[in-house]
Structures are given as C-alpha cells and as structure tokens.
Symmetry: C2
Amino acid sequence: MSSAPLFEFITAIAGEAVSSAFEDAPLVDVHTHVYLPRYADALRARKDAPRIASLDIGGRTEERLLILDGEPAAGRPVGPQYWDREEKLKFMRRHNIDVSIVSLANPWLDFLSPDEAIRLANDLNVDMDAYCAGSPIADGLPSLRTLYGFGVLPLAPQVPVSAIVDAVRTLKNLPNVRGVIMGTRGVGAGLDDNTLEPLWEAIQASGLVVFIHPHYGVDSTAFGPRDNGHVLPLALGFPFETTIAASRLILAGVLDRYPDLKLLLAHSGGALPALSSRLASCVAHDPIVSTRLKHDARFYLGKLYYDAVAYGPDELSLAAAVVGRAHKYSESGGSYDAEKASRQLLFGTDHPFFPPLEETQRWRSVDENLAAIQEAQGLGVTAKDEVRGRNALRLFDLIS
Amino acid sequence: MSSAPLFEFITAIAGEAVSSAFEDAPLVDVHTHVYLPRYADALRARKDAPRIASLDIGGRTEERLLILDGEPAAGRPVGPQYWDREEKLKFMRRHNIDVSIVSLANPWLDFLSPDEAIRLANDLNVDMDAYCAGSPIADGLPSLRTLYGFGVLPLAPQVPVSAIVDAVRTLKNLPNVRGVIMGTRGVGAGLDDNTLEPLWEAIQASGLVVFIHPHYGVDSTAFGPRDNGHVLPLALGFPFETTIAASRLILAGVLDRYPDLKLLLAHSGGALPALSSRLASCVAHDPIVSTRLKHDARFYLGKLYYDAVAYGPDELSLAAAVVGRAHKYSESGGSYDAEKASRQLLFGTDHPFFPPLEETQRWRSVDENLAAIQEAQGLGVTAKDEVRGRNALRLFDLIS
C-alpha cells in the first residue's frame, strides 16, 4: 500500500531506532474519551442528569456519573481515569498504544443555554489543546505527540448556526485539535436539519474529522422492565442511534452535497453496515425517496469512516466489506475495492468505559477489539497494520 | 451434507421425474404474508389503526392499510395480493417458488380484547389450515402441498397464559399449520415476561417453529421530522425491534431453560448478528448480568434460525458466521462449524410487501434476496441449495 514507504520515510528521517511498539506498526486509538476537569466541574454543579453526584454507596462516598434520568444501578463510578491525563497515558502504555485521539465523552453541551454552550465549547477546546500539548512525544514517531484531540462545537438548541461555524473556524488555531466530536441531535432537530448546511460546508472546508457518537440511544421503554443493567441501552441503543443518524444524513443528501466530509462513525457504524442493503432496498421501493439520491444508498457507506470498536472479527469484516463494495453501488458502476475496504477502519478502545470487572493487567475490551482486527476476514497483514494505526495517522493529517 | 441423500430418497420414492424447478433444489419461502379475509374484515371494521380504510386518493376510492397512527403517505395501497390465494400462487409461479410457509401479517391480534383475541386466533388458525389445504400439490414434491402456514396465538394484553397454551395445543389438530408467528409484545410486557414461561414450555414441547416478527419498530421521534416515506421505520425500526426482542429473550435466560425452542427471526435477525459481540462484551462488563447466563451471549445466536431476507450477500454472510461460530462461545468451548452456519438460514421474500414501483415480471426484492444467497461468502454450493429450500423443509417437518 502506498502509505508504507511514506511511513518508513518518516520514521527514517526521525533518526531513531524504531521502538518495539513500532516494529510492526503504530497503534493509534481514535475512540478514547476524557471528561476534561472543566467539564467534570460543570457536571458536578448540576442537579439533574447529566451530572456527577457524590453518592453514599454502601457507607462510602463515591462520585457517580448519571448520564440519563432514571439511570440503572445509580450511574457508573467515576474517578481519575475519567479526567487525569496521567491515567490516560498509563492505560496507553499498558496496552502499547502509541497515539490517542482523545474526545470529550457524551453528552457534550446540548443541555446548556446557547451562551453557556458557546463559552464552554471555546474553553474546552483550549483545554483540549493544552491537554494534548503537554503530552510526551510518541515513542518511535518523534515528530508526533502521544495525544491529539477532537474539539467540541456549541451544538445546543437555539444556538445560531453562525456561532457554530465560527467555532469550527477557531479550531484552526489549536494545532493539537484534529477533529470534532458530536452527538446526533444537532441544534435539536437532528443532523439532517437543513439549518446545519453552513456547518457541513465549513467542516468540509476545514478538513476536520467529525466523530459522530451516540448518547441518547432509543426510547428505553423498548428495553422492558427487567433489570439488565446498562446492557441494552449500551449494546443496542447506542449503535441504533448512530445508525439512525447516519441514515438520516444519507437520506437528506448531505453526502451528495458534501462528498469530502470525513465522518467517523462510533462503534463501527453500529447497525448501519448490517442494515445497509435493507436500507437501499427500502429506498428503492419507496416513492417518496426513490429518486432523491445520486447513488444507491450503499454507495454512501464508502464515504464514511468506522472505528474498529466492533468486539468481533465477523462484525468488523462486515464494516470492511460495505466500504469495499461501495463503488459497485455508484451511479456509474464500479467494482469491489479491497484496498479501500480496510482504509476506512480505525482502531479504538472506548476507554475509560468498559473497564474490566476485576483488576487485570490488560483490559478485556481492548483485547477483544485487537483480536477482532487480527482475525477479521478479507484483510491482509498490511491492511491490519493500517487499521491498527496508519489509517488514523493519515486521516488526522499526522503523516502525509 | 447428510440431508442431500434424504432429499434424493424422498424425490426418488415419489416416483416422478424431478421437475425443472427442482433440478437444482426446491425453493421454499418462509417469510410471506397474507391478510386472511376474516382478518381483513376485522381491520375494515375498525376506526383506529391498525385498520383498512377506503380513502379518496386523487379522486379514486382505494383501500389503504394504516398500520400505525400517523402513518406517512396515507398508508399503503392494499388489494387482492394481500388476501387472495390465487395471487399468492401466481407470485410463487412467477418466481419459481415451490412451497411457501405463509403467515398472517402484522399486527396480528394485540389490539383486541382478550375474548376477541382468543376467538379470532382460533378462527384464523382454522382459516389458515383451510387456505393451505386447498392449495395445489407442489411441483416435483408430490407428497407436499404448495402452501403451509404459521398460526397465530391470542397474544394480547390481559389474555391468561393458560388460554395461549391451549391455543398452542389446538394447533396440533391443524395439519397444515407448522408454526406460529408472533410480535414482540407478548401479553404487553414483552417476550421476556416471566408470565410467558408456560408458553415457551408448551411451544418447545409442540415442536412448532416460532416466527418472531416486528411491528412497532422504535419510537418514531428518533427518525426526525423529514418526510422519508416508510424508509426509516421499515429499514431500521423493524430490525431494531427484532434485535431488542431476541436480546431480551437471551438475557432472560429463556434459551437456557428452553434450549430446543425453534425461534426464527425475521429479516435475518435484524441487527442482532452485527451487534452480538458488542452485546456479549456489554454482558461481560456489567455486574448486574455478567454471571446470569450459562454461556457467552454469542452462543445463543447459534440456537436461532434466520430468514435470508437480508437483501445483500455480506449481510447474509454475517448471519451465517454468527451461527457457525456459536459453539466457540459455549461454556465448554468448541470450534467453528461451517455446516451449522448455513443450516439455520432460510430463504424468504416478505411478499406482498416490497412490490416493485413499476410493473415488472419478477420482483426486485425477491431477486435481491436470491442474489444475496448466491453471492454469500463462506457458503458452498450445497449449502446455498439448503438455504434456498431444504433447510425449511426440514425445520417445518416437511421432509424428515
């Protein structure tokens, strides 16, 4: 693949022996979260979800994160792993992760007033840049730091889109911020809201990667009254939300109008790959939408990037397949592209979520995602290395 | 595979030349619906959804099916294809379908009072048996008719489970009824409701196949205000509902307690295959459920049957893979089982839904599902024949 010489060139001019972590390939985590201290304080100041509350848990005072009202099991325990950079670096060293592209965790800013959202987005982006700027140089890639970040935008109800576009532009002044993370609600009516057209235009022009990440899931009554902990909202609700958001973007023609947008979907696109042929068939059979898009709906899956947070090799193979086949579904026809198939998948961990239930050296959730890449069908050895790191270095403009 | 000789034996003793339709393999449709005339009349008598209404559409009176309140585009046009057996047979001949296992279409009976639901279920099952009994002998398989059916159960709020169990038992007197179709709400609290334990026990004892089919989708506010026709509820909401229902059954331990249940999931299991490793990881990381089940959550996907209504080969391959790998996730360990992988997939069409927008000889939706089987990775030639028909003949006890 064309990137391999480039990468070798960069490590060669760095004038250092390639460290053991880089003997095969860099490991880059594109799905790893932080509650920046300023954001954690904002959550501590709140009386309603989302908030961080000090609760009495079995006689001990513990901080708990309550993301949604009526959260099961009194929320989840939070501590330094959620905000302390040293904890992030320790986790990375333990798992041989060379570079992380860190993002604020959900629910970002949509519970704030417009003025608060605009101010806090600005402050958090400056914080994120500083959080990354203070990180060590990456082992084996001395032109790079260990940490880069996604910024946030003031996406909250009533925020004028011009203010959001301004926020995109100011991100250019923050050298360690390489993208933006966002939920699926936009300014209240979803990401397919016509109001957001200038935002997509500005983001496309900026070259920033957009990480689309779920928060709300779907209406929880669907999960029934049985106590299944967080399993159903997390395992199903989260990916359903991402699937709906991406499908709405496709159906609104956003990917026809802004074909150079770099949209990264959380959790390997959720259920979008598995339902994409059904989606295409439903589009083709519905008189309301059948002639709206330039291409078969499956074409647009080749425009998207997918983290490799799928937990299983067969699931990840499907994400690769839907990217590889996308050009077969372009208006002008095309063929399966095996190289493209792997180029749009990027390793991730979802740290600090999914910690092991018992103390262990390595996290099971990380090893599941690494094993998924290792065992995925249809990806060659080089392609697997790309998924583990080089795809991310290229996408975030960290190597040319 | 062991079934091939059996099948050849049956066609041989039939003493007839195998017809052209059977030269390769029978084609059996397990996902094909009918609104039996008695049921259509019940829907015509209603003032609220679900109902069949006579509407003025552009100056012409048309019957429209309104499944949910606030249905987009004034519901869908309905006509003889929805209730007339001759139309079903014509569709089958046109697509070389040899045998169909017909089911009542959603929403079945859950809008009825308990007494009405019990009475109508009984009458509809007798109707279904007669609908099938009057069908021609299958070409090339003279021991079989063209049509067999799924029955319905009086699954509606407040119906005593004993009455539902009685309904299961009476199905034994209807020789052409080979299973039951049901939605996901049970008697109001979902299929993981403890109240339903005697029902699962009775169904397991009966050997009847349970076809789990969506109707409600998920809360439609998630799909936003843009008019996308029926696309999002059908393409995403339907499979999400099935995925949630199957996951809730797994988490409730129903498949641990009733391991011989034959559950057939609509639309290739929806998003369940694609989210199954995430589901397993969420279970393993959640203290509320991590020790509840006998096996890793992925094991249970090998207990399920999937129609091959996936519209794409990569999607269908994933359904095969999750069945094939299931034993790797049993408590006692195991290995990938390529033969099992294909055995639990069964061709379907979803007729009379997804009619082509323009008059054509063959339906695009049928050809998409046939092509998905033909092009699926990891299935050999024999396995593809099994998916097209023999798996169904075995599952529904039509060949031994």
